[in-house]
C-alpha cells in the first residue's frame, strides 16, 4: 500500500470516527427530546416543568451553570424560577439585575457570565429565557445546539401553557365548588327560613330578590282561621314537649290539606293558624278555602282516632270569609324593636277570625260572601245573622256540612295509628340517618328528623327501628308522602306494635 493511500485511509477513518461521534451526539439529543416530551409534557406544575427543563439542558450540553428567568413585561418584573450552579456572586449579580430592571439578554449574559441566552414565549405578557454558561468540554455552542435548545424551550413553553390552563381549570373548579357550597348554605338557610316565611313572601323574594314588592295592596281573597278547642286544658295536662309534639302531628296533617288546596299559612300562634287563599278567580279561592277547612276537620278526626286511648281528642274551630283585604307588609314597632309581618288585614280578616270563634268544635263556619261564591257546590246549614265582636252589623253565617264522601273518609284508614317515639336509622343508599318515629300503624310509620329532601315518593328505603318492647326491627318501607319535616312510609312487613 502506498503512503498516500495510508494517509487517505487514516483521514477517512478520522472522518468516520467524527461522523460516528456526531451520530451519537444527535442520538443523545434525540433521546433528550424524547425524555423532555415524556417528563415535561405531562407535568402540571410550572415550577417542576422549568426545573426539569433546566436539568435536561444542563445534562445535554454539559455545563456547570444555568438559569431560567420569567419576565412579566406588563408588571416589569423578572423572576429566576430555576437555577443551577450559580454561586453567591452570580446570584447577587442576578438579584441586582432583576431589581434594577436591567434584564436584557446582553446584560444578563454579561453579569452571569453566560454563553447562550434563548428566549421563549410563555403566555400573553409573560416571556421566559434560558441561559447557560460555558460547556465543560470548553467547546463553543454550535448552531445545532442552539436549535435543540430552542426546541426544548418551546416544548417547555407549550407544557407551561398547558399547566397554566390546567391550573385555571382547577381554580375554576375550586371556585365552582365554593359557589356550590355557598348555594347549598343559602338553600339550607332558605329551607329553614321558609318554615317561618309565608309562601307569598317567598315567591315575591324569589321573583325579585333585591327588592321584593311587599307594599300593601288591596286584593280579593279568602281567609281561613282555625284554632284548637281545649288547647289550654291540653297544655295543663301534659309537659310542653308533648304538647308541641301533639300540635306538630295535628298541624302537620292540616298543612297537607292547606298546601293541597293552594293555601298560604300566614300566621301560627300556639293553638291557631291563619291561612290565605288567593286566585284570579274569586270563586276558586273560596272553594279552595272551603275544601281546606273541611279537610282540616277530617284530618282532626283521623288523628283523634289514631291517638285514641293516649290523649283526649281535640276539636278545631274553623272560620272562612272572602272579600277584599289589604295584603302586604305590616310594620309592628315596639320598644324592643321593629318587626315586619306579611299578612292580609282589614274587615275580611277580622270577620274570618270571629267566624272561627263562633262555631262549635268540629264545624266550619263561613260568611255569606263565601257562601255566595261557593254556589251550590257545597251543602250548608244557615245559622242566620250573628253578632260578631267588633263588627258593627250582624253577619249572616253558614255552617259547611261535610258531604257523605267527606264524612266517610276517616273510615278509610285500615289500621289505627299509635303515637310512638322510637329511634330510627333510615338508609339512603350507603348512607344512614338517625331520626325518630312520630306515629306508627300496623303497616305504616311517620318519621321526623330525617333528611326528607333526599327521599322520593314511591321509592323504598331500609329502616332499622328500635322499638320499645321488641328491640331492633329492620324492614323495607315505601315513601307515601312527604310533608314539611316528616315522611310517611308504608312497610311491607307488619310493625311490632
Amino acid at each position: 500500500m502506498k503512503q498516500t493511500d495510508i494517509k487517505r485511509l487514516k483521514k477517512r477513518l478520522r472522518e468516520a470516527a467524527r461522523a460516528q461521534r456526531e451520530l451519537e451526539r444527535r442520538m443523545f439529543h434525540l433521546k433528550t427530546l424524547y425524555d423532555a416530551s415524556r417528563e415535561i409534557g405531562f407535568l402540571i406544575d410550572t415550577q417542576a416543568i422549568l426545573q426539569n427543563l433546566l436539568m435536561m439542558v444542563i445534562g445535554t450540553f454539559g455545563t456547570f451553570r444555568g438559569v431560567i428567568l420569567l419576565a412579566d413585561t406588563e408588571r416589569g418584573s423578572v423572576e429566576a424560577v430555576a437555577q443551577r450552579g450559580l454561586d453567591e456572586p452570580a446570584l447577587n449579580a442576578l438579584a441586582h439585575a432583576v431589581q434594577s430592571g436591567r434584564c436584557t439578554a446582553d446584560e444578563l449574559t454579561a453579569s452571569l457570565d453566560l454563553q447562550v441566552w434563548i428566549p421563549f414565549p410563555v403566555k400573553n405578557q409573560l416571556t421566559g429565557g434560558i441561559g447557560l454558561a460555558e460547556k465543560m468540554t470548553g467547546e463553543p455552542y454550535t448552531a445545532d445546539d442552539l436549535e435543540l435548545l430552542t426546541i426544548l424551550a418551546n416544548q417547555a413553553s407549550v407544557a407551561i401553557q398547558n399547566a397554566t390552563a390546567h391550573e385555571e381549570v382547577v381554580r375554576y373548579a375550586e371556585e365552582l365548588a365554593a359557589s356550590l357550597k355557598r348555594i347549598q348554605i343559602l338553600e339550607s338557610i332558605k329551607t329553614n327560613l321558609a318554615k317561618f316565611v309565608p309562601k307569598t313572601v317567598q315567591d315575591l323574594i324569589e321573583q325579585s330578590p333585591e327588592a321584593p314588592s311587599l307594599d300593601k295592596r288591596e286584593a280579593d281573597l279568602s281567609v281561613l282561621f282555625a284554632d284548637i278547642t281545649g288547647y289550654t286544658r291540653l297544655s295543663a295536662q301534659m309537659d310542653l314537649d308533648r304538647v308541641n309534639q301533639l300540635v306538630e302531628v295535628y298541624f302537620g296533617a292540616f298543612l297537607d290539606e292547606i298546601l293541597k288546596h293552594g293555601g298560604d299559612v300566614n300566621e301560627t300562634a300556639g293553638d291557631g293558624l291563619m291561612v290565605i287563599f288567593r286566585d284570579p278567580d274569586p270563586r276558586q279561592h273560596a272553594t279552595a278555602a272551603a275544601l281546606a277547612a273541611l279537610g282540616i276537620q277530617r284530618r282532626t278526626q283521623e288523628v283523634n282516632a289514631t291517638l285514641e286511648g293516649f290523649f283526649e281528642p281535640i276539636a278545631m274551630h274553623v272560620g272562612v270569609n272572602s272579600g277584599i283585604a289589604a295584603v302586604g307588609a305590616t310594620k309592628i314597632e315596639g320598644t324592643a324593636g321593629t318587626r315586619w309581618t306579611y299578612t292580609a288585614s282589614g274587615p275580611t280578616t277580622n270577620v274570618a277570625a270571629r267566624l272561627a270563634a263562633l262555631g262549635q268544635g268540629g264545624s266550619v263556619v263561613i260568611s255569606e260572601e263565601t257562601r255566595r261564591r261557593l254556589g251550590d257546590d257545597f251543602a250548608v246549614e244557615d245559622l242566620g245573622p250573628q253578632s260578631l265582636k267588633n263588627v258593627a252589623q250582624p253577619v249572616r253565617v253558614y255552617r259547611l256540612v261535610p258531604t257523605e264522601r267527606e264524612a266517610a273518609l276517616p273510615a278509610r284508614r285500615r289500621h289505627p295509628r299509635t303515637l310512638v317515639f322510637w329511634p330510627v336509622r333510615l338508609w339512603i343508599g350507603e348512607q344512614s340517618f338517625e331520626g325518630r318515629t312520630v306515629d306508627a300503624s300496623l303497616h305504616g310509620v311517620r318519621l321526623t328528623d330525617v333528611p326528607t329532601a333526599l327521599l322520593e315518593v314511591g321509592k323504598s328505603y331500609r329502616l332499622d327501628i328500635h322499638t320499645d318492647r321488641h328491640g331492633e326491627f329492620s324492614c323495607l318501607a315505601e315513601v307515601r308522602n312527604i310533608t314539611d319535616g316528616s315522611v310517611g312510609l308504608e312497610t311491607k312487613e307488619p310493625l311490632p306494635l
Binding site: 461521534r21 443523545f28 433528550t32 433546566l54 436539568m55 444542563i58 445534562g59 456547570f64 450552579g85
Partner: protein, 114 residues
Amino acid sequence: MAKDLEISIRPKADVSVIDVKGDVTAPTGQPIEDAYHKVTGAGAKKILFTFASDCYINSGGIAILIGVLSETRKKEQVVRMTGLSQHFQKIFAMVGITKYAQVFPSEDAALADF
C-alpha cells in the same frame, strides 16, 4: 418501565464508594446528591461512583452528576467512575464529565488509580 434508583455507600480503604443502581433522572436523582453530601460530611476526599450494568442515565440524571462534580471541584475531592457501558462512557465524554471524573473499566482499576 422505569427502575427505582438504589444507592448504597461503602468504604474501601480511604475511598468512599457510592453504588448506583436503577434509573438516574432529574426527578429521581436526589439520593445521589444525598449520598455525596453524606460521604463529604464524613470527610471523604476520594469518591468512586460505581454504576450497575443496567443503569440508565438521561440528560436530567447527567445534570445531577454534573452538580455533584461542581461541588467536588470546589472541595478539591477526587472523583472516579466505573461500571459505565460504552454508550454512557461516550456520552459522559461528549458532555465533558470525563474531564472532571475519570472513567475506569473496573472498580479495582479505579481504586488503584486514586
